[in-house]
């Protein structure tokens, strides 16, 4: 590639953005507060589900004394992540506790009482960037329990291993931080830019990629400057691109399109077009894991909103109760209209402030009444704001109308499953219609429908299999019986006169035989059916 070519592409890129909205970013509330260390809380609640994929399996028991960084639970299956002790202390319980999820339902959780000794466990030896192999790095990332820190919490090691399945060319670092209010990535890039750059170098090595693009929204000039300086001499083929400030710029596929001009096919992965995207905060976690052997036991998050006394960026241990963090930031001012985990666009209401922060929590927001949406919903006036705001080229008003009529399949026909749930449509709607809510409802319902259908089909298949097998067994039995009868008859013919045998009633053995043999068979089929049903 020549030198002139990337410039040409850069000019073209900015034109190719479609949709999006410009929320008031409110970042000024916390963007000038340096990252501060949260003091140790009295109790840590560490959920076993902090990632996409299977629940981690605990390897400690109640009453155990654990060291800082010690493995608490092992990831299960191919998509899962291990969980480590955020500090040294006593395991006081392994039970169900309210999860940081809008449902407020309990999930299996390890409760740890810190002993305030901060006694580290034996850590794996530091990795050397030049000498370590991609496999070693990916293994280290997996054992450190690192997940995507942008909020999706997809296990990072799985993504690092995609090099085995795809031909990868470009690593994109997503530091867009397009959600309003959130400034934790901004602060991280400004204050620890060298560490982030080092983490990116490890990622690039693990992926065997040498072309790197770091995308930062242009409303973070200090972060752009800091990163530009930090990558010098650390990363070779790297571009730091100031991308337009527009929500949802941090959406993976849209970011890729803006930065490279390439559009990821629907239902595909960015890896399909040779691109892998990682979050900036994930790079920092990988740096800590590679250089110090530290597992992912803490993260930086933004506490903000007009209903918080002292907005701040805080480095907290995973498992710290939300209420402790709010208290650390001076508590609340009045009663907030919304208390959220995450940003105002895609964040979720906090059902219970005693629930802990997890690996994917990037913000705690307490929004005052003036900062949040009204309650009143008006009829759709077809203004098309949602169509113009949708980054995915959908017609939200039409999709919503179809979903309201319970025509889910026809909503799918016009792109329901291509919706990324960014909420730009609801943001732009003058009638305040909960569009994205409707789409999430429909997607959930479709999944349930699909599962029910699969379950029915599976049950049907198993039942048919069983019937066939029964039929075969019965046929075999009949055949054997007939043969035996024939043999017996032949024998009897030889030795005794026919009349003397009392022939068994012709039907009873035929029915009884399959029934008897059915018992064990049924027992073996039953678990299969229940398994399929789960």
């Amino acid at each position: 590639m020549s030198f002139a070519f990337p410039n040409f592409r850069a000019a073209r890129k900015l034109l190719s953005i479609r949709g999006g909205v410009h929320p008031n970013d409110q970042k000024i509330l916390s963007s000038e507060s340096a990252i501060e260390q949260m003091p140790l809380p009295n109790l840590l609640r560490i959920p076993l589900q902090q990632h996409i994929g299977a629940l981690a399996e605990p390897v400690v028991a109640k009453g155990d004394i654990v060291d800082k960084g010690q493995l608490l639970a092992v990831g299960q299956g191919s998509v899962s992540a291990s969980i480590h002790a955020p500090t040294s202390g006593l395991i006081v319980a392994i039970s169900r506790f309210v999860a940081p999820h809008p449902s407020g339902l309990p999930v299996p959780t390890i409760t740890l009482r810190p002993d305030r000794e901060e006694r580290w466990t034996d850590l794996p030896s530091p990795l050397d960037l030049e000498k370590s192999t991609p496999e070693e790095i990916a293994k280290r990332v997996a054992s450190a329990g690192i997940v995507g820190m942008g909020g999706a919490t997809f296990p990072s090691s799985v993504k690092l291993n995609l090099r085995n399945r795809f031909k990868l060319e470009t690593l994109i670092i997503n530091a867009a931080e397009c959600e309003p209010y959130l400034t934790c990535d901004d602060r991280l890039l400004r204050e620890r830019s060298a560490d982030v750059a080092d983490g990116i170098a490890f990622m690039a090595r693990a992926l065997d990629i040498n072309k790197i693009i770091i995308g930062i929204e242009e409303n973070k000039p200090d972060a752009i400057a800091a990163m530009s300086k930090a990558v010098e001499g650390v990363l070779a083929n790297v571009q730091i691109v100031a991308i337009p400030t527009r929500y949802p710029m941090g959406s993976e596929k849209h970011l890729v399109q803006v930065l490279t001009g390439q559009e990821t096919p629907a239902r595909g992965l960015t890896a399909d077009i040779g691109i892998i995207v990682h979050n900036g905060a994930t790079a920092y976690a990988i740096h800590k894991a590679a250089r110090f052997g530290h597992p992912l036991i803490s993260r930086i998050l933004t506490v903000s909103g007009r209903a918080v006394k002292r907005p701040a960026n805080v480095e907290v241990l995973i498992g710290t109760p939300i209420v402790d963090i709010i208290t650390h930031c001076g508590g609340l001012v009045g009663t907030p209209s919304r208390l959220l985990l995450g940003g105002p666009m895609m964040g979720q209401p906090i059902a219970n402030t005693r629930s802990p922060v997890v690996k994917g929590s990037n913000g705690i927001l307490a929004l005052s009444h003036n900062e949040t949406r009204r309650d009143e919903i008006m009829p759709c006036i077809r203004c098309g704001n949602c169509v113009n705001a949708c980054p995915s080229g959908l017609t939200p008003l039409d999709m919503n109308a179809r979903i309201r009529n319970e025509e889910l399949d026809s909503a799918v026909d016009i792109g329901l499953l291509d919706c990324v749930s960014c909420g730009a449509c609801s943001y732009a709607c003058p009638s305040n219609i909960p569009l994205v809510q409707s789409f999430n409802y429909a997607k959930g319902k479709l999944i349930v429908q699909q599962r029910t259908k699969q379950r029915q089909e599976e049950t049907k298949r198993l039942a048919k299999q069983r019937n066939d097998r029964m039929e075969r067994i019965a046929a075999a039995k009949r055949e054997a019986m007939a043969r035996r009868k024939a043999e017996k008859a032949a024998k009897l013919k030889k030795h005794t006169p026919e009349k003397e045998i009392a022939p068994p009633s012709s039907s009873s053995p035929l029915i009884a035989a399959p029934n008897k043999s059915a018992e064990p068979l049924e027992a073996s089929v039953e678990p299969l059916i229940t398994e399929a049903a789960q």
Binding site: L168, G347, L394, T395, D398, P430
Partner: protein, 359 residues
């Protein structure tokens, strides 16, 4: 919709509302409205007020019958805007009952019979205008020469009151055909444009509004200013007005070049009648126009084509209203077939092909 207790994302909002949008449109209408009321004097002011008040009155009644919250819907600005638009399209000295009837048709038949706000397939103001035009052709085509407020010969407040509410024959003397009416009629007498045009109109007068016409449609310049306001505030996008106007210019120019004696040029088409007004304020009505950008282009072109055909070859001198109603009827169809391309898919909805990757 009862979702008062619903807490769902996004928790931030653009803080726009229906009433905000309606107010922006009304703000954009102000220049041409104020000018119209000024040049046509007291009768126009009375007619304007009667039309708007009756629109709100009918809205309140319909809401009450439909058992909808009056406090919530009456002041959302939509009825005010509908009444306002109806008034803009009336001849300035029309009797009061034309205004009341117009509002009634717009609000009751045009809007609430279909289910109220957001449900109507046709633009209520245009439904009112066309129904009035067909039912009361005489009242709806009695134009007067502008006689600015407080100028010599203009009716005073009491005279204005009598003109609007009791009908006053004394002022019929200065009534006059609109430019479109006149040209259409004279062409029917097989005169050539070359000889007709100098008698009746000057481009400057059409642009500035010194011509007979509806209250809100006299000055192309002020309407254009309002349209630009709508564009700047992003209340509307450029697609409908630009496609409508450009198509008109192209069609008119082609015909004008082919036979200048029979077909007037583009400037005539744009500045006479209500084309510019409708391009910015009526055709862009959210409820009755398509939502996707490409669909809006098709819609704008359709209106321009039909308007041109009706103006040039049909019985009515003015065709914008009919053209808009016709394209309103086509809107669901256009919306259904012309959608934006979905991210990651081609125009026909298939996922894009990957050109790299995939070992």
């Amino acid at each position: 919709m009862n979702s008062q207790s619903l807490v769902c994302g996004p928790h931030a909002h653009s803080m726009t509302s229906i009433s905000n949008v309606m107010m922006l449109v009304i703000l954009a209408l102000l220049p041409t409205t104020l000018f119209g009321l000024y040049v046509f004097g007291w009768p126009a002011i009375f007619l304007f007020l009667v039309t708007i008040v009756s629109a709100l009155f009918f809205e309140a009644i319909c809401l009450a019958i439909a058992q909808k919250s009056i406090t919530r819907y009456l002041f959302d600005g939509s009825a005010l805007l509908t009444g306002w638009l109806v008034a803009m399209t009336l001849p300035p000295w029309a009797p009061w009952w034309i205004g009341v009837l117009g509002s009634g048709i717009a609000i009751i038949i045009g809007k609430h019979l279909y289910g109220g706000l957001g449900q109507n397939p046709f633009n209520p103001a245009m439904v009112a205008r066309i129904m009035l035009l067909i039912s009361f052709p005489l009242h709806m085509t009695t134009w007067i020469m502008p006689a600015p407020l407080l100028s010599d010969g203009a009716p005073g407040i009491i005279e204005g009151f009598t003109i609007t509410f009791f009908g006053d024959a004394k002022f019929d003397a200065i009534s006059q055909a609109s430019v479109l009416d006149y040209v259409s009629a004279e062409l029917g007498r097989s005169r050539t444009l070359e000889s007709i045009l100098p008698e009746t109109f000057s481009y400057l007068n059409l642009t500035l509004g010194q011509v007979p016409g509806c209250i809100g449609e006299t000055s192309a310049l002020l309407i254009l200013i309002g349209g630009v306001m709508l564009l700047i505030t992003r209340t509307i996008t450029w697609h409908i007005p630009v496609s409508l106007i450009v198509t008109t210019i192209v069609l008119a120019s082609i015909c004008n070049i082919l036979d200048p004696n029979r077909y007037p040029d583009a400037v005539f088409h744009l500045t006479s009648g209500s084309l510019i007004f409708c391009a910015f304020f009526i055709a862009t009505d959210y409820v009755t126009s398509p939502t996707a950008p490409t669909a809006q282009l098709v819609y704008g072109v359709g209106i321009a084509l039909l308007t041109f055909v009706i103006r040039t070859w049909a019985a009515f001198p003015e065709g914008v209203g009919f053209a808009i109603l016709f394209m309103n009827a086509c809107t669901p169809l256009i919306d259904h077939f012309i959608r934006p391309r979905v991210f990651g898919r081609n125009r026909s909805g298939k996922p894009l092909l990957t050109n790299t990757g995939g070992k």
